[in-house]
């Protein structure tokens, strides 16, 4: 295994080098194009195009009786374009929704492709062998000259995207703004669709018809989880896709019976899942952890507030409270309350004396602040939004955990440091 790995990456075998460069370019270009289709919410358009190029390839072969890559790609390009036009046309001119339109066009085009392909196969034309490579794709077994053409195409795609980067971004994110700027939006639409068709025609030779949409979508989704900047997203998607294409090609190289395309997609999916789950900025796990942390913070603040309110009720004569007293005042689970108190104790915000709890100086500051923010917000809602005073509690309950010191200062200023809240409770200020 290690030997083959060394052999593969030593670049001594010129063929391997070509295959590798080819797969990097193909992977990168389809990933970059895919980012745009995913962002434009047209992720499945790649699926339509990839299924629809088959009849084009077969007809081109029938007409010119040659497997020249330019001829076949030309046919593929034309029928891919035709399929996009059809999807748009059906969607715009009937009650059929976009998903069904996509399904109709892709299955009928593909059916036609299979019909023509089988007709060619049964005709006994010896030159036809290898046409079905388009369906499952295989870079590793590709002819040198075909690889040149494909790599050239991919490079061309990347250059086009670099040249038209700005307009493509505008029409992907804010079409109306692009129109108002006086951009030739239709022209850029046409360009973007064309490069999508081109990327698909090139990409299916690597992964095949069915799996092509993964080569467009999956890297884009993974990259979206790793960054929120478009230029980084394109770069990361291209990188992920290239790496997977190399791995897929390598697997095919070591075990020639193994298909390249499916391995590329499986590796791609696994890598993307890593990004989706473990991304440090937007991954699912980090999100769950953040939610948990935030939930605990709210619980802690509520308990400190509760302690303050209990003290306030007795005019601060009593300062120590047991669990059942706290539960009487606020409706929450007993277990939850005990856990929260223990966490607060560790942070030095509350102290336990026998079976009773009391807030420390720092704990009182936080509890007091929560009560103050709650009441200030209630005043704000009744004065500025003219809400009745019995409608403001719920919102204040949420806002007290969100308001920051700057907003607090602003609230105090615009409300003129009110003394009482709408329910006639005194608002406790820090310096009192």
């Amino acid at each position: 295994m290690l030997e083959t790995l060394k052999e593969f990456f030593s670049f001594t075998d010129a063929n391997v080098t070509f295959v590798m460069i080819g797969s990097i370019l193909i992977g990168a270009s389809s990933a970059v194009v895919g980012c745009f289709s995913v962002l434009r919410k047209r992720a499945l358009i790649g699926d339509v195009i990839s299924h629809s190029v088959l009849p084009g390839i077969c007809i081109a072969f029938l007409l010119f009786n040659s497997k020249n890559p330019f001829v076949l790609l030309g046919g593929a390009f034309l029928s891919g374009w035709l399929s996009i036009i059809w999807v748009d046309y059906i969607e715009r001119n009937s009650n059929i929704k976009s998903d069904a339109a996509i399904g109709i066009v892709l299955s009928v085009f593909f059916g036609a492709g299979i019909l023509i392909l089988t007709v060619i196969q049964h005709s006994g034309n010896a030159a036809q062998s290898g046409l079905d490579h388009f369906i499952f794709g295989n870079i590793a077994s590709m002819l040198r000259q075909d690889l040149y053409v494909l790599s050239g195409m991919s490079l061309f795609l990347l250059i086009i995207i670099l040249l038209f980067y700005k307009p493509f971004v505008y029409i992907s994110f804010d079409r109306n703004y692009a129109v108002s700027l006086g951009m030739p939006v239709r022209f850029y639409d046409f360009m973007l669709s064309s490069i999508t068709v081109l990327a698909v025609t090139v990409g299916i030779q690597a992964v095949g018809v069915v799996l092509m949409s993964a080569l467009l979508i999956t890297p884009a989704v993974a990259a979206r989880f790793l960054t929120s900047k478009l230029n980084y997203m394109l770069l990361i998607a291209a990188l992920i896709s290239s790496v997977c294409c190399i791995i897929g090609t390598f697997i095919s190289y070591t075990a020639p019976s193994m298909p390249t395309g499916p391995w590329i997609i499986v590796v791609l999916m696994l890598l993307s899942m890593l990004a989706v789950f473990f991304s440090p900025s937007r991954g699912i796990l980090i999100n769950k952890w953040r939610q948990q942390k935030n939930y605990r913070k709210i619980l802690e603040e509520n308990v400190l507030k509760l302690l303050f309110q209990l003290c306030e009720k007795t005019g601060f004569k009593e300062q120590e409270w047991n669990i059942s007293q706290m539960l009487d005042k606020r409706n929450m689970g007993e277990q939850q309350l005990k856990q929260t108190l223990r966490r607060l104790e560790k942070k030095g915000l509350v102290e336990k004396k026998s079976a009773e709890w009391t807030a420390t100086v720092n704990g009182v500051i936080i509890g007091k602040r929560m009560v103050r923010l709650h009441r200030l917000w209630e005043v704000y809602l009744t004065q500025y939004l003219k809400l009745p005073s019995d409608h403001v509690h719920e919102t204040a309950e949420a806002m007290e955990h969100i308001l920051n010191p700057e907003l607090e200062a602003q609230l105090e200023t615009i409300l003129n440091k009110p003394e009482f809240d709408p329910h006639n409770s005194k608002i406790p200020y820090q310096d009192e």
């Binding site: 299924h51 892709l106 369906i135 799996l211 993964a214």
Partner: protein
């Protein structure tokens, strides 16, 4: 006689798919149907590797399970991970399909399941595969028998579940309000689609099932928005395309399933053009001042 069996098989597939397809189209989840039809592949292969035959019950169970897993995964990616739904569909089915193809090629030496079979099935071989039950059925091919049973089951399913399926398709909120579980019926429908895909797999292949599911139902939807009529029309269009498709394939000497899909496409195009023209006429009548006054 061969022609009869092949056309019968194709017609039965198009009846099963045509009925279920109507619900997919109305619920705007046609592409989930597409995804399921691709995803059953690894299920079929795994069950095949375990049981050693393509016509065992295990294959149906394994593949249907995989179809449901596919639906769950799509829901998970869409709801929990918050990936836009079309991207979630595209990611999931390609992955499962890739796994299926890898499994096929890894064990391709000793099984008669090959990649061509995935693409367009072997409907031409249907008459050769006779049922071996030891009863009077032995003179009939297996596929039509199985598909007849399936059609019957689907008819019963739709007949019994007509009201909940109807309500959850058109007015999910009302359905919830009167206590119908939308997700239960969603998954029941998806299970039905999976089973249908698996059983149609041998005759029309994994990819072209989509044509049978979506095209006739959409063609019917162009003409009517009454569900019962839509289901009926969808089946009629499916059967019509099966008959014409068979003769087209015989004439050209090509794939029968491919030819049937082409016929479905032509069928759709004709109905589409018809509705376009008639709606234009209607507009003309409406905008003609002489007629209005």
């Amino acid at each position: 006689m061969n022609a009869f069996w092949i056309i019968l098989t194709a017609s039965l597939v198009s009846i099963c798919c045509g009925i279920l397809g109507c619900f997919l189209v109305l619920r705007k989840i046609s592409m989930i149907g597409d995804a399921i039809s691709h995803s059953v592949l690894p299920g079929i292969v795994i069950a095949f590797l375990i049981s050693g035959s393509l016509s065992s019950v295990l294959v149906i169970i394994g593949a249907s399970l995989m179809g449901l897993i596919c639906t769950f995964l799509i829901e998970f990616f869409h709801r929990t991970v918050k990936i836009q739904s079309d991207a979630a569909i595209g990611m999931v089915f390609t992955f499962l399909f890739a796994v299926g193809v890898i499994l096929i090629t890894a064990y391709t030496g000793n099984i008669d399941l090959d990649v061509d079979c995935v693409l367009h099935g072997e409907i031409a071989y249907v008459p050769l595969d006779l049922a071996e039950t030891g009863t009077f059925l032995d003179s009939f091919p297996t596929q039509p028998i199985i598909l007849s049973i399936l059609s019957l089951l689907i008819l019963i399913f739709v007949f019994i579940g007509y009201k909940p399926l109807f309500l959850t398709s058109f007015d999910p909120e009302y359905a919830i309000a009167i206590g119908i579980s939308t997700s239960l019926w969603h998954y029941l429908l998806m299970a039905a689609v999976s089973v249908t895909t698996v059983l149609s797999f041998e005759s029309v292949g994994a990819i072209l099932v989509v044509a049978f599911l979506i095209v006739p139902a959409s063609t019917a939807y162009l003409l009517t928005d009454k569900l019962k009529l839509m289901i009926l029309l969808s089946c009629v269009f499916g059967i019509l395309s099966s008959i014409l498709g068979y003769y087209l394939a015989a004439y050209l000497d090509g794939s029968i399933a491919g030819a049937i899909s082409v016929m479905m496409g032509i069928n759709f195009a004709i109905v589409f053009a018809y509705t376009k023209i008639s709606s234009k006429k209607l507009q003309k009548i409406k905008s003609d001042p002489a007629l209005n006054s």
